[in-house]
């Protein structure tokens, strides 16, 4: 700047270009961020009751595996997914429904009847029949669904 109070033409143009460039840049950046993170913001926790099957299949004291097909929409693709749920009852009235997804890093656990434990093959996690951690790295028990029984049919819900 030649004079302290005077803005030169060159300075004015420089600032103008900077301002316009920033506006255009933000015009790209903001929609781009919204566009990229958009699908991540959609929580797709299903709020509907899913029918598992008859309560008569559940043996008392032993986690019983139910497999149920659900339709899931991801992006533009609708695909059928299989949900595996272990159901446990001690008295034939109260039921616990647990996911087979390990609470450590998402591998699938399996009920080993001989050991009376759930076993995860990935990092040797062991859960008891109620899904509580016995040993290994998992930070918390197996996820439990909400359960209801209607006319001898078991229903589960995520939330």
């Amino acid at each position: 700047m030649s004079d302290e109070n005077e803005i030169t033409r060159r300075d004015f143009m420089g600032v103008s270009i900077l301002v316009m460039g920033s506006v255009i840049g933000l015009g790209f950046l903001i929609p781009a961020i919204a566009y990229i993170i958009g699908p991540a913001l959609q929580r797709k926790e299903s709020q509907e009751w899913i029918r598992l099957g008859s309560t008569s299949k559940v043996e008392t004291g032993v986690p019983t595996l139910f497999k149920v097909k659900i339709e899931e929409q991801t992006g533009w693709i609708v695909n059928e997914e299989e949900l595996s749920v272990y159901v446990l009852t001690d008295n034939g009235r109260d039921y616990i429904a647990m996911t087979n997804i390990c609470s450590h890093l998402g591998c699938r656990v399996r009920w080993i009847a001989d050991e009376n434990k759930f076993f995860c093959p990935c990092h040797n996690a062991i859960f008891d029949e109620r899904g509580l951690v016995v040993s290994g790295p998992p930070p918390k028990p197996l996820f439990r669904y909400n359960v209801k029984v209607e006319e001898d049919q078991l229903f589960i819900k995520e939330g």
Partner: protein, 225 residues
């Protein structure tokens, strides 16, 4: 801020580059000289929005149309990103042609700027190639039939026509192979070629300097001078 600039300048010498590119002397010119910069801006727009579109777009017959619909109707600002790419493509062709017309009418292609002109001609062809390959990607009726027609036109030359058609389509019919190769050309081959040629084109613009507006009545001026 200035000290950071100085620190960096001592090590990478950016100031000289900055001055050479942005503070170079230009003759007295008019707004038609902005058409080249406008082309560059549109190319950047196409690059940014194009990269964003590839995040969701899938170039196969069973997913292309649905993924484009997903982008347009389901994603936040998806309509905007696709719209900018769609309309930017048309604007690109128009602005690039206007830029060429300006260069022709002002005789700016003459010595010593012939190589700048050659690269410009190649850039125009690349832009047309972008338009042709990009048109197929939404995989809707318009895209399918426009490419059917376009590739058949490419197949009209005698002797080699049928071979050209088959190479462009990747077989006799318009198929998954056609869509995949158009996508590959559109997002890899052409952008690479465009980037390299823009770099050469701009290097020459900076190196040689731009031409002044041709003067009328040159003889009168010469007599006075």
């Amino acid at each position: 801020m200035t000290s950071l600039g100085n620190w960096l300048d001592e090590r990478v010498g950016w100031r000289q580059v900055w001055e050479t590119i942005f503070l170079r002397k230009v003759p007295k010119i008019n707004w038609f000289y902005a058409l080249g910069s406008a082309s560059l801006f549109l190319a950047l727009n196409q690059g940014i929005t194009g990269i964003l579109l590839t995040i969701y777009y899938v170039p196969t017959p069973d997913h292309a149309y649905d993924s484009v619909q997903f982008i347009t109707t389901q994603l936040p600002a998806g309509w905007l990103i696709r719209g900018l790419h769609h309309w930017g493509a048309s604007a690109m062709v128009i602005v690039v042609v206007l830029h060429m017309i300006r260069v022709i009418l002002y005789g700016a292609y003459k010595y010593p700027r012939e190589v700048t002109w050659f690269t410009g001609v190649l850039l125009l062809l690349i832009v047309v190639g972008f338009g042709f390959t990009g048109y197929l990607l939404p995989w809707d009726q318009k895209a399918f039939w426009a490419t059917t027609v376009g590739t058949l036109i490419a197949g009209t030359p005698p002797w080699i026509g049928d071979w050209v058609l088959r190479v462009i389509r990747g077989g006799q019919d318009l198929s998954a192979i056609t869509l995949a190769r158009f996508f590959g050309v559109h997002v890899w081959v052409l952008p690479a070629a465009l980037s390299i040629l823009i770099a050469v084109h701009l290097y020459l613009v900076v190196k040689i300097g731009i031409s002044a507006i041709p003067k009328r009545e040159r003889k009168d001026n010469e007599r006075e001078g």
